[in-house]
Amino acid sequence: MSTFPSVSPTSRTYVPGNVPSNVQVALDGTYVGFQRGARRIKQTLSLSFSYLTEADMILIKDHFIARKGTFEIFYLPSVIWGDYTTSPVGLNYAWRYSEPPQIQDVSFDRFTVEVKLETISINTDDLIIDAKNADSNSPERVYNIDAGSASATPARLHRINSGLAA
């Protein structure tokens, strides 16, 4: 999967999102909450890159275009989290642009870029795709989908053979 350009931000604002839930409050104030999912949604990250060179600005612009705007997801490199010792968002979440970046001219050949991102929950733990030693004469791919400890033998093996396609 694509990774955001390794450019260190000038400022960073992280919002940890929320568990998807629905809250009902009765007229007398009684509170009932319904959890609708296990993974947090709408974690957001606002990044500001000040006084970038044109080359660094183009890295971000081209990445946004290659991701088809806000459509496709990607990971963040560690440099984005700068002074964090551990990234607060694990690999169970990818990111996508929540809106188009804004590029402002601030000096000759210097640009300030504002980027807003939000998380997309993904299931990296559940899917193992192994094509490391694929032989072009036996192009079988093994997809091992493991539901963890759901049953005694939870792994499911899916073999996809493209029929010796070149």
Partner: protein
């Protein structure tokens, strides 16, 4: 089609636009997205600020606005608008520009000088 007047702006903010798409989200947060074009990006924006223009320069902009029927007819931008870029970020073979809205001409604080802010938006060619 008349190009925008060749005047270097004092301030410029470029918005990258977005591919046309639709997004749906279920109650548990799982989303589905549909994209309608892999190549076209809509609503790329360019905000230009011109400070201390002469009356002749202001007139060239207002005349251009009138000639383009306001925000109706798309046009190309001259290289002066992208002054400072070594590579123009929007290819004129892919996109033209049109006025996103009308604009206000303000007094520049000195006799015969004017300030104007102009918002443009792309149109795929």
């Amino acid at each position: 089609m008349a190009n925008f007047p060749s005047i270097v702006p004092n301030q410029r903010v470029f918005g990258l636009g977005n591919n046309p798409q639709e997004q749906f989200e279920s109650p548990d947060g799982v989303g589905t997205r549909f994209i309608y074009s892999n190549s076209n990006r809509l609503e790329q924006t360019l905000s230009l600020e011109f400070i201390g223009l002469t009356e002749t320069q202001i007139t060239s902009i207002t005349d251009h606005f009138a000639g383009q029927k306001g925000s109706l007819i798309p046009f190309d931008l001259p290289s002066e608008i992208w002054s400072g870029y070594s590579t123009v970020p929007v290819d004129s073979s892919d996109y033209q520009w049109r006025y996103a809205s009308t604009f206000s001409v303000e007094s520049g604080g000195v006799t015969g000088r004017f300030n104007v802010s102009i918002d443009l938006v792309t149109v795929p060619v």
